[in-house]
C-alpha cells in the first residue's frame, strides 16, 4: 500500500513541478495577453509539437510523434557533440594536466600521487580502448586499469552503503523517538 501511495504521490508531485516550472511560466503565462507583455504567439509551435508528441499513444498515427521527437533528438545530439567535448573531454584533460602538476619540487609524496593519478587515468582509458586486442603490453596495462577501476567501484560502493545506512538510521530514529516516544 505504502509503495503504491509513494508511486502515486511521486508521479503527481512530478506533474505539479513540471506544471509550475514549465507549462505555467513558459507557455500559459506567455500565451496570455497580460497587458505589460504582449502574447508570444510563436510558442504555439512547441505547443503543437508537444501535442504531436502525444500521438505516440496512437497505434495508427504514431509517426506524427516523430517530428517533435526528431527536433528534440537533433538539438540534443548537436549540443551533445559540442558541450560534451568542452565539459567532459577538454575540461577533464585540462584538469589532469594543469591542476595536478606532475612534479612539485620539495613535495615528493604529492608528486608521486599526481603521477599515480595520471597513470590511473591512462591505464583505465586503455581498458576502454577496443580497437586493439588486449594482449601483450596493452593487455597488461589494461589489467592495471581494471585494478584502478575496481578500486573506484569499491569506493563508490562503500560511499553508497554508508549513505543508505545513515538514511536507514534516521528513519529508525524517527520511528523510535518521534513516533513511539522511546528516548535512546
Amino acid at each position: 500500500m505504502a509503495e503504491h501511495i509513494f508511486v502515486g504521490t511521486s508521479a503527481g508531485y512530478g506533474f505539479v513541478v513540471t506544471y509550475q516550472n514549465v507549462f505555467k511560466p513558459m507557455l500559459f503565462d506567455k500565451l496570455k495577453d497580460a497587458g505589460s507583455e504582449p502574447m508570444n504567439l510563436i510558442l504555439i509551435i512547441p505547443l503543437i509539437g508537444g501535442i504531436m508528441l502525444l500521438f505516440k499513444l496512437s497505434r495508427k498515427n504514431n509517426w506524427v510523434a516523430r517530428y517533435p521527437l526528431s527536433f528534440m533528438v537533433g538539438v540534443g545530439s548537436g549540443m551533445g557533440i559540442t558541450n560534451v567535448i568542452k565539459s567532459d573531454v577538454i575540461s577533464q584533460v585540462h584538469a589532469i594536466i594543469f591542476k595536478n602538476p606532475m612534479w612539485i619540487s620539495g613535495d615528493i609524496w604529492t608528486s608521486l600521487f599526481n603521477i599515480l593519478y595520471v597513470v590511473a587515468v591512462l591505464t583505465s582509458l586503455l581498458y576502454f580502448f577496443f580497437s586493439a586486442e588486449h594482449k601483450g603490453a596493452i593487455g597488461k596495462t589494461a589489467r592495471i586499469g581494471i585494478w584502478f577501476l575496481m578500486i573506484s567501484f569499491g569506493a563508490a560502493f562503500g560511499f553508497t552503503v554508508m549513505a543508505r545506512i545513515s538514511l536507514l538510521i534516521s528513519r529508525v530514529q524517527f520511528l523510535l523517538e518521534d513516533f513511539l516516544g522511546i528516548s535512546l
Binding site: 501535442i51 567532459d88 528513519r171
Partner: protein
Amino acid sequence: MKRTIPLIITFLSALVMIIIYFINPAHVQKFENGVFEWIRIIGAFALFLGLFNLLISHFIKVRRNGMNAVYSIALIVAFFAIVISGIFFDSENPDGTFQFMFNNIYRPLSSTMFSLLAFYVASAAFRAFRAKTKEASFLLVAAFIVMLGRVPIGTMIWGKIPVISNWIMAYPAAAAQSAIMIGAALGAISVSLKIMLGIERTYLGGEE
C-alpha cells in the same frame, strides 16, 4: 516521407546547434534560450505519456476488481489528490494541502524507500565481497576502507583510516572516474554523430 523529413529535421537542428556554439554568445543567446524553452515545453509533454500509461494500467486493474485493486485505487487517489492540491490551490502556502502532503506523505515515504535500499545493498555486498580474484579483492578492500573511514569506529581502530579513505577517494577513485567520464563522453559524441548523420535511427521506431 514519414522517416525522411524527421531525419532532415534531426540533421538540421543538430547542425544549427553546432554552428551556434562557434558564434559569439551575445549574438545567439536569445535564440539559444528560445530553443531550450521549446525543448523543455515539448519534453514536458512526454510526461503525459508516462502518466497516461501509469494511470491506464491501474484503472484496468481497478476495473478487473482483482485482489490488488485497492492498491491501485490508493495510487490513483494519491496522484489526483496531490495534483489537484498543487495546481488548483496555493501550492506555496506552508499550511496548504500540497505542502502538507509533500511534508507528511511524499518526503517520509521517499526517504523510507531509499533507506530500504540499505538491505538490498547489504545483500549485494554479501555477493560482491568475495575475494575470489585479485580484482574483487581491490573492490573489497577499497569499499571496506571507505566505509570504515566514514564512521567513528574507523578512527577508533586506527587513526589513519579516514586519511587513507580520503586518499582513495582523491587519487585512484577520482582518476578512474575521470577515465570513465572521458570514455563515456567519447561514446556520447560518437552516438550523437551517428544520430545526426542518420546512421542511428532507432528513436524513430521500427515501422515505416
